[in-house]
Point group: C2
Chain length 406, copies 2
């Protein structure tokens, strides 16, 4: 089995990297905190006897060689970048559990046939640099190195400059390591497993993700002197879009979710009608046709708004990923491994995007979920019971052992 105490200790140690004076954890891709997290993880990889490599978009790999030098490795990955005011599990759990599995194989001299590569992909969260899953998308050939490095962050910096600054612009060409299979262990980040009292989720599919930035332009004018009928209020129009999206998903009778997570008014002054509102729209659905329908409904609403409120509306695509169906054989292996350990297991859909969604373009892929208490994620209250963290890592170890052979 794995060393549960070591895994939990590393989760806490990595979770301490990137805390501000107020105690909040924010470790955005390419930041100083990301550098310190990468230093910590790559140090642990070397300690465990893994060979460390960094590619041109900062993806970090640690490989334990197998006896069959010609075989493509099994890859276990996730990410260590975080959202703003984050929890400590999202992404880190998958990387550190993979590392723990590799380290146990190294320590016990179990002798794998295939190599085992642990990956920490760059900018999975997409909070600073869009699109999300950026590093794994490049690895899978879905985005060029140039385009990825040119991605402009919410603070105006480019990913390329920031990777060079923190010393993680590597030399390896992305995609050089071609896995025979890809596994990702992750907290569920939703309420299903806890609600049903199930220990392990065998993730069989992952919903599509549509990210857009919407900009609405109206006219700045005086809040006291401008009659209502003469206003072109960009902030009001933005608010209408937010409530429209909720009404739309409420009425759609589909599992579509819609979120407006960011909002900015300009000039942002108490007695000035907003001249501009900028916000993001995150739409998701496991079914591509329904996701397209939600995008079309939004586009139609924005058209109507432009006509009715006299505002100017423009949209920019920040990310668009189709729903993914994972490899049936791998999903079945996960179910079997869980059952063999006496852990309850159910098949499920991932509501979050993951690096596995990108890696599925390259290799048979699947994911293992463990419960999230209260279904809370992207929040400092994110929590998974230690026993569940250890159980998930053990299921991962068993599936890796099968896939690597030896």
């Amino acid at each position: 089995g794995i060393d549960g105490v070591r895994l939990l200790g590393r989760l806490q140690a990595l979770g301490a990297v990137g805390r501000g004076p107020d105690g909040a954890l924010t470790r955005l891709a390419g930041s100083d905190a990301d550098k310190h997290g990468r230093d910590l993880v790559s140090g642990w990889m070397r300690e465990a006897g893994l060979r460390v490599e960094v590619d041109q978009v900062g993806n970090l790999f640690g490989t334990l060689d197998g006896s069959d030098a010609a075989a493509d490795p099994v890859m276990v990955g996730s990410h260590i970048d975080s959202v703003i005011n984050a929890g400590i599990y999202d992404g880190c759990y998958g990387v550190l559990a993979g590392l723990e599995v590799a380290q146990r194989f190294a320590e016990t001299g179990a002798g794998l046939a295939r190599p085992l590569t642990i990956a920490a992909f760059t900018d999975e969260e997409g909070v600073r640099f869009q699109p999300d899953m950026l590093g794994s998308l490049v690895h899978a050939g879905g985005l060029s190195v140039e385009a990825a490095l040119a991605s402009v962050g919410t603070d105006g910096a480019t990913l390329g400059d920031e990777l060079a600054r923190i010393g993680y612009a590597g030399a390896m060409v992305p995609g050089t390591i071609r896995p025979s299979a890809y596994l990702e262990l992750h907290i569920e980040q939703g309420p299903v497993l806890e609600h049903e009292g199930v220990r392990i989720g065998a993730v069989e599919n992952l919903q599509g993700i549509s990210w857009q930035r919407v900009t609405i332009e109206g006219d700045a004018n005086h809040a006291g002197t401008t009659p209502i009928r003469m206003r072109r209020d960009a902030g009001l129009a933005a608010a209408r879009v937010v409530t429209f999206l909720r009404d739309h998903v409420d009425a759609s009778n589909a599992p579509t979710v819609a979120t407006v997570g960011t909002m900015r008014f300009e000039p942002d002054a108490i007695n000035v009608i907003p001249s501009r509102a900028t916000f993001t729209v995150d739409l998701r659905d496991p079914d591509e046709d329904r996701l397209k329908a939600a995008e079309a409904a939004l586009a139609a609403y924005l058209d109507r708004l432009a006509r009715q409120d006299g505002v100017t509306v423009s949209t920019e695509r920040l990310a668009r990923f189709d729903p993914v169906i994972f490899d049936e054989g791998l999903v079945r292996r996960i179910e079997q491994a869980a059952r063999a350990r006496g852990l309850s297991c159910r098949r499920m859909t991932s509501g979050a995007g993951h690096d596995a969604q990108m890696m599925a373009r390259l290799a048979p892929s699947a994911m293992i979920f463990v419960p999230s208490v209260g279904g809370i994620s992207h929040n400092p209250k994110e929590f998974t019971e230690p026993a569940d963290l250890v159980a998930g890592a053990e299921v991962l170890m068993d599936v890796v052992a099968e896939l690597c052979g030896g």
Copy 2:
């Protein structure tokens, strides 16, 4: 008559102070730009032969002595602070026209009986430090010096620290100069005069102003994994308030106006449901009962929202001013002065707040308006025709001459 070219030249010169690299004019109260503007105006006051004084909240006064040393002065005032991305006329026109009038009296040796004081009040806009009309409110005894200096700006600085930093924390006790009458010349900032082709507005009343900050707290959670029914989305709740306010004023059949000019989501990340939304509400109506009704409707809606959406709502009062009725005698003098110069004139209501609203607590007060092209203000496109600027200053001069006697 006045020297129109000098007045227009000073308006342009003062309008150049506080422009950023993008050419946008922002001269917030207590900023470096405010200091440079004050230096310019106080220099012009001294050049014109006025005695310059600064009080403890930074109100700047320039006085031309009269022959009757015991008489209370006539005061002409406004402000030189601006909103964000402002025009050059709002406030500055009133101060510089007052200065021009005083300078002409000094130059022509017309010999006033009463002193004439030109005032530039601190932080009229209220964009950085609330409440608006802060300096004139303190002068009129409506806010203590201590409370005013402790006002915390949108950037976290206090007014007291900022005034000390820029060298405009004066020694004079506010209210020391007690005017016998107060006049304020201002651009209309609304569409009425231009729409009706009238040159001069004799402002007989000014609507009430209610400013609040609303904070809504929900739960941060993952945009992809959190089912709609489990969300407590602070951003959605804020959007509902924005659309409610518009629907309410549309349905009210009253001249009430409602504006949400500022908005902030936290953590403000694309894939995180907002845990907090903070925004301001500006409500105005010339009738106090209707203003109270609008405030009550908002409060009732916020209660309902807290119950229905499960969010927590709190409000903070940023400013509250009753509607004001100006002095009938002064309003009539303005009308007569306009007619005597062959300028069309109408009585009107001010939609904007002004220092005159505060000074009316101390002394008979009234305002003179000139047309705003397109009714545009709090916008770099703010514009008034030079001929209208000169006409307004001449009406001011005539009324001042009558009031000062000599």
